[in-house]
């Protein structure tokens, strides 16, 4: 398995996770009859997004290093 292509794949999948996560939060806010506060969901999303970005960046750095 090429390390460069692994990093490319990791970044693509991470970006996909971020997009699907944002869609999911919007979907929850628009379809649930009693959705939680929008600010709470978006803050939770940002927390998850930070972990995903850190994980992808750290792993890419280690794999390419």
């Amino acid at each position: 398995m090429s390390e460069e292509w692994y990093v490319v794949g990791l970044c693509v999948v991470s970006a996909l996770v971020l997009v699907v996560g944002a869609w999911f939060v919007r979907h929850e806010l628009t379809t649930r009859t009693q959705p939680p506060p929008a600010a709470l969901l978006w803050i939770a999303y940002l927390g998850v997004a930070a972990v995903v970005v850190f994980g992808a960046a750290r792993t890419s750095w280690v794999v390419l290093g």
Binding site: M1, V17, G55, T59
Partner: protein
């Protein structure tokens, strides 16, 4: 009066919703049991878990000990919450995130040509014949269950429904 009562009555779940809920219960029990087992296998063996974490060479050296301490506790707590059906969707999101991190760890070790045991249920460190594909497929299966629990919204026999007064 009748109209008012009907307006306030919660819609009764359909057969499909009930079946999906029971499938969700099966997923909850399986995934909950798996994570409780993983947590219990690692909890008494901190040094081995730390060795397994370090073998991935992903986290900064100083973080490995804290991660090795926190991981089994988190697995145990999340597994118990999932088994009981409390905060099921939030727990499933956290487990999905954790499983993604495990998948990244395993696949990155594979990509770098490391020969290590995943240490998922205890153990870890160098091995002669790592089973990366097997571990990846297993974790993808667990991830599919976690995603299902997020998507299905309600599962059968969830303690959260009783605790928070939701209609099952």
């Amino acid at each position: 009066m009748t109209a008012t009562l009907e307006e306030h009555a919660a819609p009764s779940p359909t057969v499909v919703t009930r079946v999906l809920g029971w499938i969700g219960l099966a997923g909850r029990v399986y995934l909950g049991y798996t994570f409780i087992t993983a947590g219990l296998d690692k909890l008494p063996h901190h040094d081995t878990t730390e060795l397994a974490v370090r073998a991935y060479q992903l986290l900064p050296w100083q973080w490995a000990s804290a991660y090795a301490t926190a991981l089994p506790v988190a697995e145990l707590l999340l597994g118990i919450l999932l088994l009981l059906g409390i905060f099921t969707r939030s727990v499933a999101v956290l487990l999905a995130l954790g499983l993604c991190s495990f998948l990244v760890g395993i696949t990155s070790a594979w990509a770098r040509g490391l020969n290590i045991d995943c240490g998922c249920f205890g153990g870890g460190g160098q091995v002669a014949d790592p089973h990366y594909l097997e571990h990846v497929l297993r974790d993808v299966g667990y991830l599919a269950i976690a995603v299902y629990l997020v998507v299905v919204r309600r599962t059968a026999l969830a303690c959260g429904d009783w605790l928070f007064g939701r209609r099952a």
